[in-house]
Subunit: 213 residues, 2 copies
């Protein structure tokens, strides 16, 4: 496998990066006007440098400009409290994974790679339609049919929880203080937004994060 990974610098994709570090030839980081862009990207850079993995950062300015979502800089306030459907629905960036996977597929073909890795997991299914297995399977078929090389899309965490992902990372010895999750985008994790709560639950017992609250 010669893989390209979609790599944000969050917990899940960092775990995927370390798990497949020998097969990954290129890490692709997208910025799109979200509050957490800066902190996440800085973690992503640090981990790529540590592992000696080539990284490209691609800004998707049109998302911040034309798409509606509470996590975008101009959007509504980020919801606090649990990571459940009603609460988090406003944080959806429509078809974000579709867009990132398509760009990654074109770039993989351009670079002579054969596989695109993405770190969506089972905990995302309820809220984000473009994290569900049906979506991943269909976009995978589109990537294979739509390229000369028959690029494959692989989603190794698709059917396990974020807690399971964290346990894999613990096993691999990942330093999760070098990852970022908070939708508010502050220097420290806020500790109360939906993704911070989800992070806390996943890392319970070995959480190195400094939270504001």
């Amino acid at each position: 496998m010669k893989a390209l990974i979609i790599y944000s610098g969050g917990m899940d994709s960092t775990t995927l990066l370390y798990k497949y570090k020998d097969e990954i030839k290129l890490a692709l980081t997208f910025t799109y006007g979200a509050r957490q862009d800066k902190m996440e990207t800085s973690c992503a850079k640090e981990n790529c440098a540590l592992l000696g993995i080539r990284q490209m950062i691609i800004p998707l300015d049109f998302i911040g400009r034309y798409f509606k979502s509470s996590i975008l800089a101009g959007g509504d306030n980020v919801p606090e409290g649990n990571y459940n459907e009603i609460n988090m629905k406003s944080t959806v960036v429509p078809f974000r994974n579709g867009i990132m996977l398509s760009i990654a597929t074109g770039l993989a073909e351009s670079e002579g790679l054969d596989t695109v890795l993405i770190a969506n997991h089972a905990g995302d299914h309820t809220i984000y339609p473009d994290c569900r297995p049906e979506f991943i399977s269909a976009i995978g078929k589109a990537a294979t049919a739509g390229t000369y090389a028959g690029i494959k899309i692989e989603s190794p965490f698709c059917n396990i929880t974020k807690r399971d992902v964290a346990l894999i990372g613990k096993e691999l010895g990942i330093d999760y203080s070098k990852t970022y999750s908070c939708y508010k985008g502050g220097k420290k994790h806020c500790g109360v937004c939906g993704t911070c709560r989800e992070r806390k639950e996943a890392l319970e017992g070995f959480d190195p994060t400094e939270y504001e609250e």
Copy 2:
């Protein structure tokens, strides 16, 4: 149907624009560093203005920067002669339709529309994997599965030739002098590159284009 159309300003998408003008609420034009960007976009603007259709122009700078293709400004020379596989393969921009369709799908969801229209036709199948029916069908399933609204992708010309498309346009009274095809991107159509030859064949008998040669 409340549709968004991927609209370049070429012959095929202009025909689609006129055919579905009453259902189209938004025309989405992408620029990506191709030689023909400027001339095509100017035609696209003119037709949207004539029909009173709202238009967004989204620059995809990363394609010109990171992707390899002879039609991109820094790429190899554009091949002349017939529009056949060997000759035209270098003009492929990897997974371009996948990328444009994914962005269009996210934007359609964001704008409360239900359908994305694209004007690929049967003459593109040999050279461009992301114009083939298998690809269109798979990406359509991905768009529906990956959005709350279940966005649909429609490709009305997928199984007809460019000549058939031109005959539909003739019937609709489209002025094809307000469309652009040449991969060289000059003010006049060169008349000898692969797409110019394809254009000539499609419009034979009613071609209003002024060619260089």
